[in-house]
């Protein structure tokens, strides 16, 4: 029988069901989700700017931030009550499955550039929740995961230091000395580069340094491997990173806690932590 004839005989949902379509609720404006309503400020100009971030509108966000600064609004207030609220709403919608990565990246770009405007007036870098250092393992060129992490951290209000890819253990040690980070993330996509993690841990120990936790993740990395050393915790999704950092910051968690409470901290079932 011809290909077309065969195709015409098929009842599609006996073979594959597009559960993404099944799961999709009615279209709704981003600002109307109850979770978002709770986050968004009500006062102007904060609300307008937050909405511009929510709708990934860099041009208008920048324009309104500049205007508000000229009108004398405090840059700190603009950052905290408008920009961070907007990006917070974006993260919430991403976690909820309404927003997608590009939304996050673009809103993040809008947020970051707007923050820079505020910082110009402020005359210094704005305060962040804390510093996180991110690297890709030595010998490894795969850096997309790490780049996502940077964005999620920044959206989460952290200062994220990018050491780049193919980073030697010694360079990581220097960064720890320099930034004394709250948290660190390492990414490796290959069986033969995840071996960089124990080297980093060794090098830190030798230098007498410690960090509350080093999140280690990436394609080929396995939890069982990561847990053969100290100081590390296996990281699964890039968007988990700010939640892990928050847990360290707020609840004083260390790597041992994170290993035990990973699922709870990131607030969802994590298959890797169930195996």
């Amino acid at each position: 029988m011809s290909y077309k004839d065969l195709e015409d005989k098929i009842t599609q949902d006996k073979i594959a069901i597009r559960y993404n379509v099944v799961a999709e609720g009615a279209a709704m404006k981003a600002e109307d989700y109850p979770e978002v309503k709770e986050i968004l400020p009500t006062e102007e100009p904060f609300r307008k700017i937050a909405l511009e971030i929510l709708y990934e509108d860099k041009i208008n966000a920048l324009k309104d931030v500049k205007k508000s600064l000229e009108e004398g609004y405090s840059p700190i207030e603009l950052i905290n009550n408008a920009l961070m609220k907007g990006i917070d709403a974006v993260s919430t919608l991403y976690t909820k499955g309404v927003y997608f990565l590009p939304d996050l990246m673009l809103a993040g770009d809008a947020m970051m550039e707007s923050v820079k405007e505020c910082e110009k007036v402020l005359g210094r870098k704005s305060d962040t929740k804390g510093t996180v250092v991110c690297f890709v393992a030595e010998g490894d060129p795969h850096d997309i995961g790490k780049n996502l992490i940077l964005m999620f951290l920044r959206a989460g209000g952290f200062e994220a230091i990018d050491l780049g890819r193919d980073v030697a253990a010694q360079r990581v040690v220097e960064a720890v000395k320099e930034y004394d980070p709250l948290f660190m993330t390492g990414t490796a996509l290959m069986t033969t580069t995840m071996t960089a993690f124990p080297k980093v841990v060794e090098a830190l120990k030798e230098a007498g340094l410690e960090v509350p936790a080093i999140g280690c993740g990436g394609g080929a990395v396995r939890k069982d491997y990561v847990e053969t050393m100290d100081m590390t915790v296996y990281g699964v999704e890039a968007y988990h990173t700010p939640k892990l950092a928050d847990a360290i910051l707020t609840d004083n968690k260390n790597w041992e806690d994170l290993r035990k409470e990973y699922s709870d901290i990131v607030g969802e079932f994590v298959s890797e932590y169930a195996s």
């Binding site: 029988m1 098929i10 073979i15 069901i17 939890k223 079932f269 169930a274 195996s275």
Partner: protein
């Protein structure tokens, strides 16, 4: 109990994957053998999870959630999760209950939310110990097996299976020594006696709770032969003898159905095509997507007339592609999807034939399970359907005939070892008495002496 004395299928060509003469329905919209193939995922609990009931329950729940998530992510319309209980779950029936409850809860949630068809197949372990004086039929272990089954039923399992082990002390002896008589006695006689005893009871419990009594398998015996037989270059068990064990295994696994098992029969029962041809119940099989668990020489062929398609078993851990419940459900899920496409387009019989012909002449063990040959063995069995002993010999001799014909037709070549052990087995079987009681008496004497663990009392002999 109604013995099968005629075939439920009129011709081998009537059999194809996804369709059983007697389909099965369970809750959550699940149907088996009703026009589509269900993938099965089975994951061995991780080392350490046996330490407490809590950790085992968590383990079972987690495996289930992972599987459900992947099923949605790749668009599977339906799937079955089977949990093969380890000894601790059966020795402590409340574990069996709690694990089942946790798994059912998860399945129900995903079914409610997405409409995905799901079922839990619970398989308590046969923890009875075959030893002299072990009181197979009354021991505390026996009681715990039945109590565990009851617990699984009460807590929402859709299907109950088990792998009974009757006769294995004798068949083990036969397989390792290449003794066809011991194989016949262990599988065909002792195995059948024990399976009948167990299933009369299991079916009662299932019926009480309106849970599907699934089926049994000759795993403990013919799979032992198959694994010892190994690959083409292995040298532990003759592949022709393993084929004979399998044929007899068909006569054995049929007993559960005769007692009221409704299918799907257990995935590891490579003899299932024979049983399906006779009885028309849906079957689960496993092959090329069970490479994680073991290597067989009929990875495609065995899919030919399955109703459920399984991965057999895998460590619970991470692959680059995800955790193993995810990865291996995707493997069986995609193969089931191919079969379902074939069904939808009306090309199911073509795909069945391709599966079959891929392995038919790869090995004698595969040859005899090609659906046409499985049917022939089925016919040989039902001809002597009333007598487990005689039908086992008939199955064995038909296996011999099928292989011999293929050799003569130059379709397959055997090694000297395979040919010799086949010839000698056939000679042995041809010399056996017709009368089963005579055979049993002699065998009880012979193997009572040779096989340390064999206790005729366990079989009321």
């Amino acid at each position: 109990m109604k013995r099968f004395t005629k075939m439920e299928y009129e011709s081998p060509d009537d059999m194809v994957f996804g369709f059983a003469k007697h389909p099965v329905k369970t809750k959550y919209d699940m149907e088996i053998g009703a026009g589509y193939v269900n993938p099965i995922i089975k994951v061995a609990p991780k080392e350490g999870s046996e330490n407490s009931m809590e950790s085992m329950v968590a383990e079972c729940r987690n495996i289930t959630i992972s599987a459900c998530q992947r099923a949605l992510n790749i668009g599977l319309p339906s799937f079955i999760i089977e949990q093969e209980h380890i000894a601790q779950q059966t020795a402590n029936p409340e574990w069996a209950g709690a694990c089942t409850q946790a798994q059912v809860e998860v399945l129900e949630k995903f079914h409610d939310e997405y409409g995905i068809k799901v079922a839990l197949k619970a398989t308590p372990a046969d923890i009875r110990d075959e030893e002299k004086g072990s009181n197979y039929r009354t021991s505390e272990q026996y009681q715990n097996v039945m109590e565990s089954i009851e617990q699984c039923c009460e807590n929402g399992a859709s299907i109950i299976c088990i792998e009974t082990t009757g006769g294995k002390s004798v068949s083990d002896y036969g397989i390792s020594r290449g003794d066809p008589r011991a194989i016949l006695f262990g599988i065909g006689v002792l195995g059948s006696i024990d399976m009948e005893f167990m299933w009369e009871e299991i079916v009662k419990i299932c019926n009480k709770h309106k849970v599907i009594p699934g089926g049994d398998t000759n795993c403990s015996q013919s799979n032992t032969a198959m694994f010892l037989a190994g690959g083409l270059l292995d040298k532990d068990c003759s592949h022709t003898l393993a084929a004979i064990a399998r044929g007899i295994g068909g006569a054995n696994s049929l007993v559960a159905v005769e007692c009221g098992a409704k299918g799907p029969l257990k995935d590891c029962g490579y003899e299932n095509p024979i049983v399906k041809s006779i009885s028309g119940v849906p079957i689960a099989t496993e092959g090329k997507n069970a490479v994680c668990a073991h290597s067989d020489l009929m990875g495609n062929l065995i899919a030919g007339i399955c109703d459920c398609w399984s991965n057999e078993s895998v460590y619970h851990r991470e692959e680059m592609g995800g955790t193993t419940p995810e990865v291996w459900l995707q493997a069986t899920g995609f193969e089931a999807a191919l079969m379902n496409t074939a069904i939808q387009t009306g090309e199911d019989k073509t795909l069945r034939d391709l599966y079959t012909l891929t392995d038919k002449y790869r090995d004698p063990q595969a040859l005899i399970l090609a659906y046409d040959n499985a049917y022939r063995i089925g016919e040989a069995i039902v001809e002597y359907g009333d007598d487990p002993y005689q039908r086992s010999i008939a199955a064995a001799l038909e296996v011999g005939k099928i292989i011999t014909e293929a050799v003569e037709a130059k379709k397959i070549q055997l090694t000297r070892f395979e040919q010799d052990s086949l010839n000698s087995a056939i000679r042995t079987f041809n010399k056996l008495p017709d009368d089963s009681s005579k055979f049993i008496k002699r065998s009880v004497r012979r193997y009572g002496r040779k096989v340390e663990d064999f206790d005729p009392k366990n079989y009321e002999l």
